[in-house]
Symmetry: C2
Subunit: 597 residues, 2 copies
């Protein structure tokens, strides 16, 4: 039975433990999950009501009369919110969550057409004749994909099958409707996500047709199918077949969702060639098209990846959803390969490019995560970071995407194999497999000391593997040096009460850009542990846009009163805070990269 986890593969190299096996119990992420549950999720439902997303589904269900409101992908925001509710229920069951979920699930089920089709906006605006008429823009599969993901989360975390029934009916409809058959439609959605969703539904139900359809969507893409509709294919990740692409391009969220789904397909079909291609694409993206924050996508125009090393800090798009998709892709590659660099990538995206997308209060959001906001920046776009974080957006993809990510974050901590347990991300937590129970205690990311205590163990030897981040030079396990950028394994016969002490040195680091990263030339940024730092004008005594980073020692000091408790870095007269925490006091000049003196 699949675990209470996203990407619950049984064929991957590493086996996910899911929410039943990993549990964040305190510390940095726990407080964010609490706010997600207490503030973001309830407010999210109100926002979905206000914006009309819920109204659309009620109208499609025959409750009331009116016209569809909002963008074509409006349903997807509801499904992402439902998914968040399911994962949150898996962490902390509550009657309130169950009630909200069941009420909304009933509306979704009622909105579904008899033959399994479901897309409230198309149903209301175009009727049955409007189905799949312009799949390149309509997001019909995109909405279906998010529904399926929510359904899988729901059954895994609550046992409720109501949404799963809808998802299966919808997936069966898709299986009948799309393919190479004479009476089938040969087309793909302009916005991937259905691929990941169908593979996960296959994992949940065992229905091979879902995996086959996911495979067909992945393989059909990139053969001119979108260009036939008169669109330039790059934006839609349709310029090349997935297995021939050597980089990511076009709309960043689409590209990384496709990468994640194709990785799922490669794993479940045992397609080593496809997996190798995807590893190459991710590596090229990480080396040439990723901001130091893990932000993905440097072009506002088309919300897109740019050319190699086109990484302007001031015009970074770095959509919060792209970081989330990047985390999902890296997680699937980590499970598939066991390569610690993917866990490093998850860490960088999670603590920086992703986390900056949500306010300390938990319920205000950045759509765009810039690395430089100038003096006199003009907020000439709804999504401009110069507005500060906002409670919602007319295109509201990011907020519920953040909610579902925070609610399912526990699942990213650890995996298991026949050899033992692997810890990938560090937090106060309990890790439980069939035979082993571990307690992890740490004040990470503020402190680099991580203690793992064995609570329960079989009498036979097994390996405890600890990720040593690539940045962690001079790390030790039980005071013995270990290699950065690897898993340090302790293999022995364990007894309850045994401890392992990992120490990750958190000396502040000055990082410099690639020589080809033109827009950050002659600059440096500060990092400490997994955190990238930023300078805000409010902390400086002179104009930040004229400041230079001195060649001087950097001091780290923890300030429990500042920004919910952060470690600041100071050098000469300049003071930096973790990037994720910026724009929580005022909106002013902010820089990640500073010119070197």
């Amino acid at each position: 039975m699949p675990s209470r986890s996203p990407a619950a593969s049984t064929r991957a190299t590493l086996r996910p433990l899911g929410l039943d096996g990993t549990r964040i119990t305190g510390g940095f992420w726990a407080s964010r999950q609490e706010r997600n549950a207490a503030a973001a999720i309830p407010r999210g439902q109100d926002q979905l009501e206000e914006a009309g997303n819920l109204l659309n589904l009620r109208l499609a269900a025959g409750i009331g009369q009116g016209e569809a409101i909002g963008p074509v992908f409006a349903d997807s925001d509801v499904y992402k919110w439902l998914e968040a509710v399911a994962w949150e229920y898996g962490r902390n069951p509550s009657d309130d969550l169950l009630r909200r979920q069941r009420e909304l699930t009933a509306v979704v089920a009622a909105a579904q057409r008899e033959d399994g089709y479901l897309d409230s906006v198309v149903q209301l605006r175009d009727g049955d004749e409007g189905r799949y008429q312009q799949l390149v823009w309509s997001h019909e599969h995109y909405c279906a994909g998010h529904l399926i993901q929510a359904a899988v989360a729901q059954v895994r975390c609550t046992g409720d099958t109501a949404l799963l029934d809808v998802a299966v009916k919808l997936a069966d409809h898709l299986v009948r409707t799309f393919g190479d058959g004479d009476d089938q439609i040969r087309d793909v959605d302009g916005h991937p996500v259905i691929e990941m969703a169908l593979v996960e539904l296959y994992r949940e139900t065992g229905t091979a047709a879902y995996l086959e359809l996911a495979r067909w969507f992945v393989e059909t893409r990139g053969h001119g199918i979108i260009a036939e509709h008169g669109h330039e294919p790059t934006y839609f990740s349709d310029r090349l077949p997935v297995r021939e692409a050597t980089t990511v391009e076009g709309h960043a969220v689409r590209a990384v969702y496709l990468g994640a789904g194709a990785t799922d397909v490669a794993v479940e079909t045992g397609d080593a060639e496809l997996l190798a291609a995807l590893e190459g694409q991710f590596a090229h993206m990480w080396a040439t098209k990723t901001y130091v924050t893990g932000g993905l996508g440097s072009r506002w125009d088309g919300e897109a990846f740019g050319d190699e090393f086109e990484l302007p800090p001031d015009r970074a798009y770095a959509e919060t959803c792209a970081a989330i998709g990047g985390i999902q892709w890296a997680y699937r590659l980590l499970l598939a390969t066991g390569n610690p660099s993917y866990a490093d990538a998850i860490e960088r995206m999670l603590y920086n490019g992703f986390l900056a997308g949500v306010s300390l209060s938990g319920d205000e959001y950045f759509y765009v995560n810039t690395l430089h906001l100038r003096e006199h920046a003009h907020a000439d776009n709804n999504r401009s970071p110069a507005h500060g974080r906002r409670g919602w957006f007319s295109c509201a993809c990011c907020p519920p995407n953040i909610m579902r990510t925070l609610a399912s974050l526990d699942a990213y901590l650890a995996t298991t194999t026949g050899e033992g347990v692997q810890l990938h991300q560090y937090a106060d937590s309990t890790i439980t497999t069939d035979a082993v129970e571990l307690r992890v205690e740490t004040d990470y990311p503020w402190d680099g000391a991580i203690r793992v205590t064995v609570v329960r163990t079989p009498s036979t030897p097994w390996s405890l593997s600890l990720r040593i981040p690539a940045w962690a030079e001079n790390a030790t396990v039980d005071n013995k040096p270990v290699d950065a950028g690897s898993y340090a394994s302790v293999t022995q016969t364990w007894s309850p009460g045994d401890t392992v002490d990992l120490h990750l040195p958190l000396d502040p680091r000055t990082v410099t850009p690639s020589p080809r990263d033109d827009a950050a030339r002659a600059c440096a940024a500060l990092e400490r542990g997994p955190l990238v730092y930023a300078f805000e004008q409010i902390d400086q005594s002179t104009p930040l846009d004229d400041a230079h980073l001195p060649n001087a020692p950097i001091d780290a000091a923890h300030d429990p009163a500042l920004l919910d408790g952060i470690t600041t870095l100071t050098t000469d007269t300049l003071k930096a805070i973790p990037y994720y925490a910026w724009a929580n006091r005022e909106i002013g000049t902010m820089r990640v990269w500073l010119p070197r003196e």
Copy 2:
């Protein structure tokens, strides 16, 4: 009577001489004008036919049946082409040009509605009820403005009044329709240009109502009128009243067309406060939002100006039309103030940001003028410079805009005042006023020697003023040092055959960016005379994206066989060509800014 010139003001500080008083006779620009006449203008008519712009007007004229094709502003491309034909006829009358012009003018006249309204796309798509329903997007005034500009050029250069009759009828309709009256529409076009056009029609006809309507459009903008339609106002230069703005923002072409039109209004109404505001806006644009090439607009998203010092070379939009609008604005400020910095700005835009927009063959175009094309750049947009120049665009604003600019370029050379004659731009040319005739001989911009010979002169003393560009340190007039960034004047009694020798030193210059120009930090660019240089991969022996500009002497050498004859700059192993000439051999890596060693 207004001269055969754009912006034929009689109230400005400097009086334009127009095509009747200035004539380029040979050299750098003459060969470009020849290709414009021989290749671009005829091919342009074919393109307008193919793309449907001419069909739209014929359909609106009742010739044939069908639906409007193309963007809402399709008519404007026809009018810009008609304007180019008129100016070209003013330079070189030909039966062919006259025939083309008269045939097309007849179609335009037949397409006009009885009451003066004219917009073929609105007429065909929405009928009379569709007029001015969404002026923020419909470009109805924009098309009217270009028609009026074409009509004024036509009557000035051919004497034909056929298009002027259409323009007057249309302008009278606008005067009746727009204003603060109870039965009038209080709205402005989302895309300025009508302001410039109405002032010019006022200059041509003396009808004060046209100037008043232009003034009303300028003054009505920026008071929330566009925001009322639900649009963010910045894009449309509508966030602030023109006289309160301190910079340019939003869509670059819109912003500079508005600046030019508002300058016309300020001059003709004697509004010193408005003129001062416009001078401040231009100065702020030039200091903080202009590329070294004179390119304007750094954002693909919204084709817009960015924040201060947001000038990424790789993502420069620098639309060719924005450089043209910038030249028009600077020219009007030059006439209004006599300040040589505006003639310097015209020179920089003309030789670089504008001229790169057209191929050496004269009939292929860049829409977007980047300052850096990377290795492996992907051409994922119709307008991407990675495609190289193209014969036409679905949004074809730039090609006919280039045509009309080249055909009317003579007018930018010189002006007159009561004191004498001012030379602003240098070319082989004849300059004629009522009393004076001059011959200018030069191989500029390749050679800095410029000889002015007096051909005809009154017997009373007058001043010959020569612009000394700000870059021209150590310039001399008749071997006597003169100040860079000023007009050097020779005041005397002249005799036919008298000569004045201006020498502008053309030593190669290494220029560095502003310390706040983050994207060009630690880089330098090369210039010589008015030309900004670029490095193309084809001229280098190592990868350009890894190259550094050495601290070494720069040699200039003229190569008459290369790219129609250019002066190259070489330093160490690197070779540079004038920026305007790039992408005429192959499309490969190109850089204007190079990291300094």
